[in-house]
């Protein structure tokens, strides 16, 4: 168990890296077989999430007995297939499926052949889905009816509700702050000529290479000694928001500088002649026009800040102000030998929901925003 635990982060990293590579490769090459691979990949991600969601409704005992849940029963598929149809080659429909699909896609639009192929494809799909449905039906679902109880436990007893609120507050403040400050800085770097501009951009890009965790000790010293009146950076959600905003600034500025550069400079000149002050040119012309870039930056920063763990652990010690990742970890640690796994999974679902929703809904847009500046838009 312990050996497996140590493997998990590494595997996760590889998984993330591969996902991003795949997305970029698909976009870059427009190689259509890669789209299928991408769909399969996203399918696996969804399955993993489905498993977590399933488990968040199970009992602790069910998790201990059958950790693979209904997915563990999938090995029954060939037997179910044989008992249903009477022949062994359960993989045949699967093999037929792909060529049939591509043939149907290539057939002339609206032709009879195409319609026929689609019907055949549907029939084939049904053919190998029926045994699957049988397995699902046979599975004992009675242990998976504890959603309400588990989520209530996570939300109230494990205080996920409070942490959720903290996380929302901190992320919203941090993202808002970094978007406003970052867009202004990026506009200045992209549009206003001043001495040392290039050096400043280089410094910003360079600072992206510094791992945040290296900064924990100096930050700790600084934040502990900086306090204004009653306000202290330590143990404060505002302090944490400011810290997050600051750490996400280099990326925000880097992304938005490219974006502002891709907007025509004549707009600024036209607005200046129309009587706009530099601040009005920024706020009324360039800021609204940069909306796609701002959205990309905001989403990226949100994902980063929402999942951030190290800073939240070190700089917030008051349990009142914990964010979700820290709270989740605490839930596991505090229970140590009597972990309520389903409640933990419920917490994971709560943690993942916003990011998962954002990524599924806006995944194409995020990648599109990232490539802005590469081509003249």
């Amino acid at each position: 168990m312990n050996a497996m635990k140590a493997q998990i982060p590494m595997l996760l990293w590889i998984y993330c890296a591969l996902s991003i590579l795949l997305l970029l490769a698909v976009r870059r090459t427009r190689h259509y077989p890669l789209y299928i691979l991408k769909s399969v990949w996203i399918g696996f991600t969804v399955l993993a999430f489905v498993w977590v969601v399933l488990m968040s409704g199970a009992t602790n005992q069910e998790f201990a007995l059958r950790p693979a849940s209904v997915f563990g029963e999938l090995s029954e598929y060939p037997y179910t297939f044989r008992s249903l149809y009477g022949f062994h080659s359960w993989y045949l429909p699967l093999l037929l499926w792909l060529p049939l699909w591509s043939w149907a896609g290539k057939a002339e639009r609206g032709s009879r052949l195409r319609k026929g192929l689609w019907v055949a494809l549907g029939a084939l799909t049904l053919f190998f889905l029926v045994p699957l449905l049988l397995i699902f039906k046979r599975f004992d679902w009675s242990a998976y009816s504890h959603f309400g109880e588990n989520y209530a436990h996570a939300w109230r007893v494990a205080r996920m509700g409070d942490y959720f609120f903290n996380s929302i507050l901190v992320s919203a403040c941090a993202v808002g702050l970094s978007t406003i400050v970052g867009s202004m800085a990026a506009y200045a770097l992209a549009r206003l000529p001043f001495r040392g501009r290039e050096a400043l951009i280089a410094a910003l890009v360079g600072s992206m290479a510094i791992p945040g965790f290296l900064l924990v000790v100096p930050l700790y010293v600084m934040m502990r000694s900086w306090s204004v009146g009653n306000f202290s950076f330590m143990d404060s959600r505002v302090g944490l928001s400011i810290l997050y905003a600051a750490t996400s600034l280099p990326f925000t500025i880097f992304l938005l500088t490219a974006f502002f550069r891709s907007l025509p400079s004549e707009l600024a000149e036209a607005a200046a002649l129309d009587g706009a002050t530099p601040l009005q040119i920024f706020s009324q012309i360039y800021f609204p026009l940069a909306a796609p870039g701002l959205a990309t930056a905001a989403i990226f920063n949100f994902l980063g800040v929402w999942n951030e763990y190290n800073f939240a652990l070190v700089f917030v010690t008051n349990p009142e102000f914990r964010t979700l990742p820290v709270g989740l970890y605490n839930l596991q640690v505090s229970q140590q030998y009597a972990v309520n796994w389903p409640a933990l999974f419920a917490g994971i679902v709560l943690l993942c929901l916003p990011t998962f929703a954002i990524f599924v809904a806006l995944q194409e847009k995020i990648v599109a925003g990232l490539t802005v500046g590469g081509v003249k838009g």
């Binding site: 025509p264 004549e266 707009l267 036209a270 200046a272 129309d274 009587g275 706009a276 609204p288 026009l289």
Partner: protein, 389 residues
């Protein structure tokens, strides 16, 4: 309403490149002045300096008697139309046109009235609720002009406003801009690289080359009396022909003898007087393609010079033929009637109209035959009168 005066204006870029040198220009109130020249001649830079979008390295610019060197663009009371329209993509046409008025805190009623008036003048009343993305190039250009005129500025600046339009639309918009100038009676400064636009629109034309003003004159004087060889070659299509040669004294009279001795053009008494200092010196003869005739149409020419040249290429334009000739070391272009029989490869007898030729200094390129000034004053009587005056 304002005049614009440039005094010794220079623009030096950071790398030491001089984009504009010693520009001297007096633009009268209500005048339509066109800056024209090849790319990189400094015409756009000059315009942008008047607008305040570029800093002035030396000299002064005054608008309406006020030196504006250190005045921000928004306080110069000017409006500019850009080549790529520069409409704000996230605003509707109405908002685009109202933007400047809104920033100047005009009352809402006044804004609505002014935009509606401008839209009516330009025929874009139905497009006001659309965004620029949903408009064609010509419509966008109209909105851009509309944005300029709602403010009723002292001076309009146009930076190649028609060069993104197709040929037919360009002609239409050209006529409309002309009408607009008559109607608004405001000073307009217009930059283009298209000499036809310059000739048709401008009360006066400023020809620039390599950052220097070559000549300022009305379209006709530019054509008839180019100040130097550059102006002569820039105005007119096809461009003026230049033939190298010497002036030879022939008793009292002078005769131009082209290099090779085959081209001989006698010089009339009046012109000979102006050229007397240059007898025996190398010189450049300039003749426009439309002043080269075939034998039949050349019969009416009073001072004719016969030249025999080989036909190289013939381009038929329908009503006319553009013919490329070679004569020894000389090559030149003639514009002949479409029905003149011309065969490439064959020699052909041509008539040069000797009264229409120009002579240029070989090195400096100064026109020796016309005693024109580099700067011509505007003809104030011809300028449009403001409505109600």
């Amino acid at each position: 309403m304002a005049d614009v005066v440039l005094k010794d204006v220079e623009k030096v870029y950071a790398g030491g490149v001089k984009a504009v040198r010693g520009a001297h220009l007096q633009i009268a109130d209500r005048e339509f002045v066109v800056l024209v020249g090849p790319s990189g001649c400094g015409k756009s830079t000059t315009l942008r300096m008047i607008a305040g979008l570029e800093e002035i390295s030396a000299g002064t610019i005054a608008i309406g008697g006020r030196v504006v060197n250190d005045v921000a663009p928004k306080d110069r009371d000017i409006a500019m139309v850009f080549q790529n329209y520069a409409l704000y993509p996230h605003m509707t046409c109405f908002e685009n046109m109202a933007f400047g008025l809104k920033l100047r805190h005009f009352p809402k009623e006044e804004i609505r009235k002014r935009v509606a008036d401008a839209a009516q003048i330009l025929g874009i009343s139905e497009l006001l609720e659309r965004k620029p993305k949903a408009l064609s190039g010509g419509q966008r250009q109209r909105v851009a002009v509309g944005r300029a005129i709602v403010r009723k500025p002292d001076v309009f600046l146009f930076d190649e406003p028609l060069s993104n339009l197709d040929a037919k639309l360009r002609v239409e918009m050209r006529v409309e801009l002309h009408k607009l100038h008559e109607r608004l009676a405001t000073t307009m400064i217009y930059v283009t690289h298209d000499q036809i636009e310059a000739m048709t629109l401008g009360d006066r034309i400023v020809i620039m080359d390599q950052g220097e003003i070559q000549q300022v004159a009305s379209p006709l004087s530019l054509y008839d009396e180019p100040y130097n060889r550059f102006v002569a070659s820039f105005i007119g299509t096809p461009a003026m022909n230049f033939l190298d040669g010497v002036l030879e004294a022939k008793g009292d009279a002078l005769e131009f003898v082209g290099d090779g001795g085959e081209v001989r053009v006698p010089i009339g008494a009046e012109m000979a007087k102006k050229l007397s200092d240059h007898a025996g010196k190398p010189i450049v003869l300039g003749i426009r393609p439309e002043h080269i005739h075939d034998e039949a149409s050349g019969a009416a020419v009073k001072a004719a010079a016969k030249v025999t040249a080989k036909v190289e290429v013939v381009e038929s334009l329908g009503d006319q033929k553009v013919v490329y000739f070679a004569q020894g070391a000389h090559t030149f272009i003639g514009k002949l009637d479409a029905h003149v029989p011309v065969e490439s490869g064959r020699p052909m007898c041509l008539i040069f109209d000797a009264n229409k030729v120009h002579f240029f200094e070989k090195v400096q390129g100064r026109n020796l035959t016309c005693r024109v000034e580099r700067y011509e004053a505007p003809d104030l009587a011809k300028l449009p009168q403001p409505v109600g005056a």
